[in-house]
Chain length 430, copies 4
């Protein structure tokens, strides 16, 4: 592990500074939890064993259709991106895998594997891209990809997904995530039924090529880039897809892809119950697919999602094994910092959900004691579990305060010097 | 038919007054359509054959949780309601059936049948009610009905549905609509999964009792009366239900029961494609389950829903036979007038959808000519089909202008004299 | 104070049981805060001095337009309601005032005052009711009240508000809250401009009658009971009203009265900046005007609102003095328990907001360090301030755990025996 | 006018083909309207006199943050754009002015003026751009522009607006539209109050430089590109701005910039009533700022907006003179076709609103006859006014069917040959 990007002594120094306060906090929390018969060590161990994948595209500065404002030291290619991802993992010890996006991250699989090994990183779900045109692509996706009216365009989109599987297989990935932008901007532009039939047909061809130990995740989204209708618009359609394709097909839930006011945790529960929850794209949103940092706007909602996940574990749901991935766009922060903070928030929600007294909760539910039932959730949620998160990080070699340690490391300044600024990246599309 | 409530000469007189203008309009439209090779007679015949059921509860003045403001001549019981419903049918010839709500409309089936026969009315889907407590009911539905934690309460709710089937069977109904208010007001109040398991179990017991020629409609709704979660919250859950129960189980779509911004016509298309569209509760809404008059706020949306229905007919979808029902709450209008107007609007959307040139549309869709595709829909939608609607009514014995004719008939004044005002304006429950 | 409804020894016994754990928690939190140079005593003192008014109508079980499910011991009249309110105050010491709703709470002012004095309760803002018809009222509000097309109906509604001021003045209230249901259910039903002119004219007449030391609060709401348009639909219109009327007129913000996705804390900031924030109706909502318990669904949003209030205090905004009131509907809980819990949540949000390091926050804001700025808020929000809240209650004579103490007191059982059940569960109007 | 881009004989030929059918339709409509005492000539004259400005940026293919799919013959600069705009005007005779966006359209004012004169085009409101960084700009707008914490950045943004005024003044524009992307992506990132104070201060400096015969339009938008808060987030804040700045400051309403479910026509009414409606950015939307073609998704809403405008004219509101502009993004259509269709839809809504019988409407409103009031609007809306629109176009030298004529002209093929394809314009920002 000599290739890690943050010098070990920087982490050690930073941890030393915070050690005594952290120890006091951890001890105090341990005592408080003990009074409720909760063993802090057991919780810490579970948290230390919880991981979430980082998206390769997340380490670059995001943008909107109006503009993109790059930061210093933007990664130039997948190898730079892996360096950045490794920093997140080194400090948080919560993100040992990276999710690639093809063709953006296309590279020789051996080199990818070697780079990952050197950085201690593995590869999570592969992501195909048929929502934009790659240079020199034969058929444009302007009017759709997997659901396009033209068979050749659909075949090209299917082929691209097969290529993603092949590359992923070579580097140890075990899942393919398919999100498409297909839809329509005008009533009547597409025949909903014919379009969905074509989509299902294309997906069947992808599914056929899926290795036995792989899973296929389809991802729904209400709107954008299509603004009147979207082919995979909600979890209902997504469930139809997973059911149509077969037992290796599952639904991916992105927290920002729902209609206003939607009760997302309930969708999670339904998909678990019917055996079709594939996993998550974690992020937060206030309006649409805002791709904000996980837990930054509605932290209690994130907790309620994890409450369902821990409840499923608690109930011993057979085959329950959702994939955890982050999918965010970082427009005004250092992307590495946002991903560190988000990984923490996701673990925080998990830790809080672990603290829920489920026997007590079940009792209140059975007595229709709504007030004490909800108070049981709130009691767990209100617990400041930061000492547990810090302890889990530290024990695994990470940082008590990963953001401060990252800043102290000077990593961003270093890569800014190495990586030339990308000129003219502003979009300005209105 | 001597029992009809509006004197035949009132209708005749009113039609006479409007006859010449109507004839001119019908002829002019016929000529215009002929230029596009559309036979106005064929359209008129199809419209005349399109029917929508009236809800018995819709002829009373509705209300909100804040107040109910009754109007004159409120119906006192199901027999008054049937009188009112017959007026709607007599003038529009579009509403030959009534949908009952039990226990509100509970009565001797023979008397119901006789009254219906006398008025020329049949009976559409039965509606059970387990969202409020009937007097002297053994178990309260305060904390749920079909999904209640208590087995005895669930059994009572199942039993009530069986009673609805039995009564319905005796009067010629062929469907049961189940809408429940079960859900929760607080995170944690209910375990989503356990609650839905109980619901499905109860529904299986109802389904078992369903006669062979009946259909079971489950109805989803995002929220209200439960304000944190609702058991049957959206079409995804509704689809799971219909699929779990069997081939006589279908999803009912109420146009006002969706999340903000939802593309409802697309849900309709999906349910048709997967063989699970049961039918509709027509109404309109701007905010939530507003239960406004059909087509009053977003008429193009109603047209787009009918565009899917006519497209399914056009494609020859096997077994396609959705039930059409109105479900509205009339707070500031004479309910009879609102139901007349709504039946007209629903037929209007159907007539406009029939005018869509589907071959041309398909051509534009296949060429990705979004602008001309949407213009093809708009061209049909912009046609003022009122002459066709009027002609269909008149030919069947109804009124050219049913609202004006209703007003001229003095029916409301007459029943106001016969039916004493209901004291205590509180209530407002629809 | 011999009239208090919970025996002093019940509170003492219950506090004794929890005393040692509470002391440990309070001490541990004190130490932790001290490390950040925060004096827990100063925070506790501020919290102890923060109060929120209880709505008289909140102690009865609420309902929806579909049903109302009463609980045991429902208050029969304002004097029962005041008893219930005094229990909330006795246990929380956070709710020393009650907000009355006329005509529901109409009574002899001397008796009201005497009852309040005996229970240690004062009176907060008066609420008029022109959204439902009182028995024997000359003019109906079916088509509006303060904005009705008919001058006599408007005059009656104005007169009712003057009566509320008069009664309020006699019992020590110093504000009038005006919420109306006026609006329309159909496009074209009302002329928006004429309707608003009439509203403003009526409000001017009410404003004229306002004593010098009173404030007038107008309350906006997006929809319900009107479902196409509402006269005072949002804060923009509300601001126009307050500005038109004069310096004693202010805007009231109910947290559940906004469009989906609205950033409410920003509205609060704008109204403070322009000197027109009158106060709050606290509650929580997921969909519409759900009237759920404060902080039960989106606790971080409640915190962000209080962050604005504490920021305004911090900046020393001149004349800043918002009124704090709860406005909730309790359908599935004991209303007393929900109000206790809500008062706690409101104080919790206030306490958390007090912990924000505002100098540090301002620094990050000035450096565009978005990540650390938001982390500064989160750091305060994550602090479990329950020990501070409990300490503030206990020191003032209240309960460490007010819900448990309430249950131990047997109050509900006692009043259930005294107060006969209200027959006829229909109603549900809140 | 020898420079017009569509040959006169193409228009003449196309009109000839449609002339007889058009004449028949116009005559039939004239007769029908005459029966209601409406003079089709008077309506046609009013429609012919109604104009809407075309946005220069609208003639290029739009895009989303995910991709942009260019079409053939994309305009390379403002002079190409003006050519395209002139085609829209030549065929519709509804769009005699163009709204420029600076710096995108920056050019020598004399050349701009000369080009406009040659094409018969004038210039409408100028649009400044401080939501993206221009190359070589001294200070970045990443963290805001007019509300930035840094005074130099604010000064630069002010200066840019002054430059827009100067250029606009030289070419005959008489208004400046200011839309900014300033806001925040995280709670706490910005202090709402300080940020708005800075914004107002910057705007005051712009306002000071405004020529006497100019108007300043501020434009609100709920979200995007900022995803937690936006400085000018809604019409309430927008109204505060216009009021603070002075009598030349007005609010601009973009139909797609509102919260879900918002009643936009009511906002229009309020701004008219308080003298602050500046004008419109017309478009349509289903989800967010979708920038779809005007009237394509919710045509009745567009009609209801025009109903307010015509009502204001009818009431003789003093100083009523809103600016009409289109603001759309065309991702899947030929932008010229979309703008032609949109100009038609806007005129259609105006024509329909002119047909409303306002005396009759007022009568129904005064009698609380909600049903007939809304039917009065619907009656006008249902009228197929296409013959009036076609007649107005033809009389002014435009096309009976402008889309068909545009296609027949071969303009797009011609410019595609002249203008090289823009390489690598895809954005692909996620």
């Amino acid at each position: 592990m000599t290739n890690l990007k943050i010098a070990a002594d920087v982490i050690a120094d930073q941890n030393d500074k915070r050690s005594s306060a952290h120890k006091a906090d951890f001890a105090a929390l341990g005592e408080k939890l003990a009074r409720s018969n909760i063993d802090i060590e057991a919780i810490t161990a579970k948290v230390a064993d919880f991981f979430v994948a980082v998206p390769s595209w997340g380490v670059g500065t995001g943008g909107t259709r109006f503009a993109r404002f790059p930061g210093p030291g933007e990664p130039r290619h997948i190898f730079d991106k892996l360096d950045d991802c490794s920093v997140i993992q080194q400090l948080t010890r919560a993100t040992p895998t990276v999710s690639l996006h093809i063709p953006w991250d296309k590279a020789d699989p051996k080199e990818l594997k070697a780079k990952g090994d050197a950085l201690g990183l593995g590869f999570d779900a592969m992501n195909s891209n048929t929502f934009s045109d790659a240079p020199d692509q034969a058929h444009s996706y302007k009017y759709g990809s997997l659901s396009h009216v033209d068979a050749a365009t659909r075949a090209q989109a299917v082929e691209h997904n097969l290529e993603c599987i092949e590359l992923g297989n070579a580097i140890g990935a075990r899942a393919l995530t398919v999100w498409i932008g297909d839809g329509s901007n005008f009533p009547g532009q597409s025949n909903f039924t014919r379009q969905f039939e074509r989509y299902l047909d294309s997906m069947r061809n992808i599914y056929k090529a899926l290795p036995d130990d792989w899973r296929l995740f389809s991802e729904h989204k209400m709107y954008e880039p299509a603004f009147y209708s979207t082919v995979v618009q909600d979890w209902g359609t997504n469930y139809m897809i997973a059911q149509t394709l077969g037992e290796k097909a599952f639904c991916l839930v992105d927290l920002g892809h729902h209609a206003p006011n939607t009760n997302i945790e309930m969708i999670v529960a339904r998909l678990i119950q019917f055996g079709k929850l594939g996993g998550f794209h974690f992020n937060d949103s206030k309006y649409g697919d805002d791709d904000l940092d996980a837990g930054s706007v509605e932290p209690y909602r994130l907790f309620l999602v994890f409450n369902e996940l821990v409840d499923a574990e608690h109930r011993g749901v057979k085959g329950f094994n959702p994939a955890h991935m982050i999918d965010q766009s970082h427009n005004v922060t250092d992307p590495i910092e946002s991903l560190i903070a988000s990984a923490n928030e996701i673990r925080r929600a998990y830790a809080q959900a672990l603290l829920v007294d489920r026997l007590r909760l079940e009792g209140f539910q059975n007595e229709n004691d709504a007030l004490m039932a909800t108070e049981t959730l709130k009691h767990a949620y209100r617990t400041d579990v930061e000492p547990i998160l810090a302890e889990a990080r530290q024990r695994a070699g990470g940082a008590i305060d990963p953001i401060a340690t990252y800043r102290a490391s000077g990593y961003r300044t270093r890569v800014a010097a190495e990586r030339p600024a990308i000129k003219g990246s502003s979009g300005g599309i209105v």
